[in-house]
């Protein structure tokens, strides 16, 4: 059992090394960090939106307008970030699947957006 899993990881390593030797045309999405990035990337546009909106309101005097506007924009931007990251993870997984020509890449652990 253990021998099998190490074998699997070794082949995985080899494929990733082979991928690394050829220059990638675009930046890889680095899916191992996927889960770590999600929370901050979702929340920070909202925080920045609220902060900017509050500041613009104080500056312009149109009190609830900019706060509301930028808050909603922030939420949209947060979801947009999530969507883009999901797209990149998907792209990466597909690239791995086409790279490795044997069907043992069915394990769903690589780049699952958990956390």
């Amino acid at each position: 059992m253990t021998a099998h899993t190490t074998d699997k990881s070794m082949t995985k390593n080899m494929t990733s090394k082979q991928k690394g030797s050829t220059p990638p045309p675009r930046a890889p999405a680095s899916p191992p960090l996927g889960g770590l990035r999600l929370t901050a990337d979702f929340l920070s546009p909202i925080v920045v939106g609220i902060f900017l909106g509050f500041w613009l309101d104080r500056w312009s005097g149109a009190t609830p307008l900019f706060l509301l506007l930028l808050f909603f924009l922030g939420v949209l931007a947060g979801f947009w970030n999530l969507y883009r990251m999901a797209q990149k993870i998907d792209e990466h997984n597909r690239a791995i699947e086409t790279d490795a020509n044997h069907p043992d890449s069915g394990n769903p652990d690589s780049g699952s957006p958990s956390g």
Partner: protein, 245 residues
């Protein structure tokens, strides 16, 4: 209570060691935070100097560690920025080592974790943000604004998507710095709180003590991962500025 008068947040208090208060507004005292930054930089410089001093063809343990750290960062820069990334390698390497050693030295008993202060992290992140933006503008001029309109966007979505992209771009330094800050603060508060249980539970304290061991190991991992994330995101931002997605 055993931990009377000792808040778990006490460890984050900044204390001036050499007071240099120039005026009401300007205080450049040498603090415990600055002391640990100095120590970290010294530790990095000295350890790399001594580890690579022999330049052996067959490396010893110290040189092996130094070389593998170098290779980790070099691979990260090459994979995430591309060929032009070599110019940014010294910067990324310094950044990675500074944050990594800062995180790890924070785990030493009695030390101070300077990466647990938003002022430090936000300064780093804001400097990166400004640098990346200036680099993009210097490289592409007006074309840099294409970053805010993804390729192949339908024209009727542009008025909505441009503000969203702009806000998402502006939030980069916040997400970069808050991520590191939050991870460090949470980890250290957790350690202190559970350490308080060890003392107050007496003999039963062995249970949280075992947990403490596990969490310390976890914190070591977090220290590395967060430094890695910070560096890799800097690489990705540089890539965006150089090639516009």
């Amino acid at each position: 209570m055993a931990a009377e008068g000792h808040s778990p947040l006490d460890q984050f208090r900044i204390e001036p060691l050499i007071s240099l208060r120039l005026s009401e507004m300007l205080d450049i005292s040498y603090t415990n935070s600055a002391l640990w930054m100095t120590l970290s930089v010294l530790a990095i410089c000295l350890s790399f100097f001594f580890a690579t001093r022999k330049r052996a063809l067959v490396p010893g343990y110290a040189q092996l560690i130094a070389e593998s750290v170098y290779k980790t960062v070099a691979d990260m820069v090459r994979d995430n920025i591309g060929k032009e990334g070599k110019r940014f390698f010294p910067f990324i390497f310094s950044l990675f080592m500074f944050i990594l050693v800062g995180n790890i030295s924070g785990l030493l008993p009695g030390s101070f974790t300077f990466t647990s202060h938003l002022a430090v992290n936000f300064f780093l992140a804001a400097a990166i943000f400004l640098g990346v933006t200036l680099l993009g503008i210097a490289r592409h001029g007006q074309g840099f604004l294409r970053l805010f309109l993804p390729h192949g966007t339908p024209w009727f979505l542009a008025p909505l998507l441009v503000p969203i992209e702009l806000l998402s771009y502006l939030s980069r330094p916040v997400s970069l710095s808050v991520r590191l800050f939050a991870n460090m603060v949470v980890g250290h508060v957790l350690l202190k709180v559970i350490a308080g249980f060890v003392v107050s539970l007496g003999v039963l304290g062995i249970v949280p003590f075992v947990g403490l061991l596990a969490i310390t190991a976890l914190e070591l991992l977090v220290a590395f991962i967060q430094a890695y994330v910070f560096a890799i995101l800097t690489c990705i931002y540089l890539h965006d500025a150089l090639y516009l997605h």
